[in-house]
């Protein structure tokens, strides 16, 4: 069997570089995910508010995110704003901005759906037991919302982590870019490196995403 080309990773500091690249991916996705969850909760609650203007604004926002490919958003924010507005945003800041912009919209919509799916009778029973509005939201509605939110938001979170691979298009050297660099640099000596190195990248993504997915399963079971 031909060499899988994994050996290049053990040359020099290659593997360390790959891990550093992974850290860049994780850092960008972690910050974006945390911001998206917090802002998404807020946006989701706002989406359930009965206000036409607010409704219209949020609708346009959500549709924009749905329609625009993430890469186009990255290009607009990183390349576009520099020329037009003269903003000097670093690539990392742009990436975090775009991913949070995206995540907040989708998270918000998930939160909205989860709140709407709580039957009105849940509010009514709480009020009938003499609870006030704050107690009802805090003790009855939100815990049920969070439970419904877990499986939905895990999909979004892992999708966000995977999509950070796009940020190399605006010059950020993350795990996939490092992998490419390593493969290019060793094209002569190990022509098979593409297979082995990308396989390792796959495993690295797996190692990052799998615990999150396990955690979701655990929480779902515990709270069932």
């Amino acid at each position: 069997m031909a060499s899988l080309g994994i050996d290049v990773l053990f040359k020099g500091t290659n593997f360390l570089r790959l891990l550093q690249g992974l850290w860049v991916s994780i850092e960008i996705s972690l910050i974006s995910v945390v911001l998206s969850i917090l802002l998404g909760l807020l946006v989701g609650v706002l989406m359930t508010v009965n206000n036409k203007v607010l409704h219209a604004i949020l609708k346009v926002y959500l549709e924009t995110v749905r329609i625009m490919p993430q890469m186009v958003l990255l290009f607009i924010v990183y390349f576009g704003t520099t020329r037009v507005f003269g903003w000097d945003m670093s690539a990392e800041t742009s990436a975090i901005f775009v991913f949070t912009f995206w995540g907040t919209a989708e998270m918000g919509d998930l939160v909205r759906g989860s709140i709407k799916s709580i039957p009105a009778i849940q509010f009514e029973s709480a009020w009938a037991l003499g609870m006030d509005k704050v107690q009802t939201y805090f003790y009855i509605i939100l815990p049920q919302t969070v439970r419904r939110l877990i499986p939905l938001s895990i999909n979004l979170i892992t999708r966000m982590i995977k999509t950070t691979s796009l940020v190399m298009m605006i010059g950020i050297v993350e795990v996939l870019k490092v992998a490419q660099q390593i493969i290019e640099a060793n094209r002569k000596t190990s022509p098979n490196a593409a297979f082995g190195v990308f396989l390792v990248v796959f495993l690295l993504y797996f190692i990052v995403c799998w615990p999150i997915s396990r955690l979701a399963t655990y929480l779902e079971k515990r709270w069932a």
């Binding site: 009778i121 029973s125 009020w127 009938a128 037991l129 003499g130 609870m131 006030d132 709270w223």
Partner: protein
Amino acid sequence: MHEIEIKNLSKSFVDKDTKVDALRDINITVDKGDIFGIIGMSGAGKSTLIRCINYLEKPTSGQVIVEGKELGQLNEKELREQRQDIAMIFQHFNLLQQKNVIDNIIFPLVLQGVKKKEAREKAFELLSKVGLEDKAKSYPSQLSGGQQQRVAIARALAADPKILLCDEATSALDPQTTASILTLLKEINKEYGITIVLITHQMSVVKAICNKVAVLEEGQLIESGRLEDVNLPEDKFFWLNKENELKNKEFEKAGIKEVRNYVG
């Protein structure tokens, strides 16, 4: 003084441009210790009416007077306090799934500032009253429908209410379980002197425990009074059959052949 007095109550819902009159000019009085049954087809406005008694639903016009207080005059805090005197149980029990039986019962008490130890003592006393003292640590999902309704009854009684509202409390249960829940309600009524208002579409429920009854049809009260004075249809399935008849008429209009709901 009547325990509950409903005066000229009307309720309409406005949905976009159409206005639906759910209740029209309802007058009902319920006295202390009554078991008052409200019976009618689905869509007759029973649920809306019982929800007006604890102001989950605000009437469009008219008054609801409970223990001499007009609910429409109360502010939100006073209304909440009044609601502790008006307990309610529901068709689908609405227990908190992630809390066990005992915690479900003490939860509202603790929120009202009752000490946990006191609340637990009270809860255990009520659990033995509803015959579930061995299920204190169980979760709702481990209980049958009848047992869950018993827990809901215990929870409703925890705040020492004067009135218990039952919103189709036995509609999701089989006939035997229904009978046992009704027996329990009657005991509670006797022992604690709690006034009970229940809505149902099952004539058997009314005949089994109510001393007064009101018949609701299309949002209007067509009869009310003591059970023996009110003309109730002989047919056990009167309302169910009537519902089917109406449904079939609608189906005919829509060009669908008869669809039968098999009964009993």
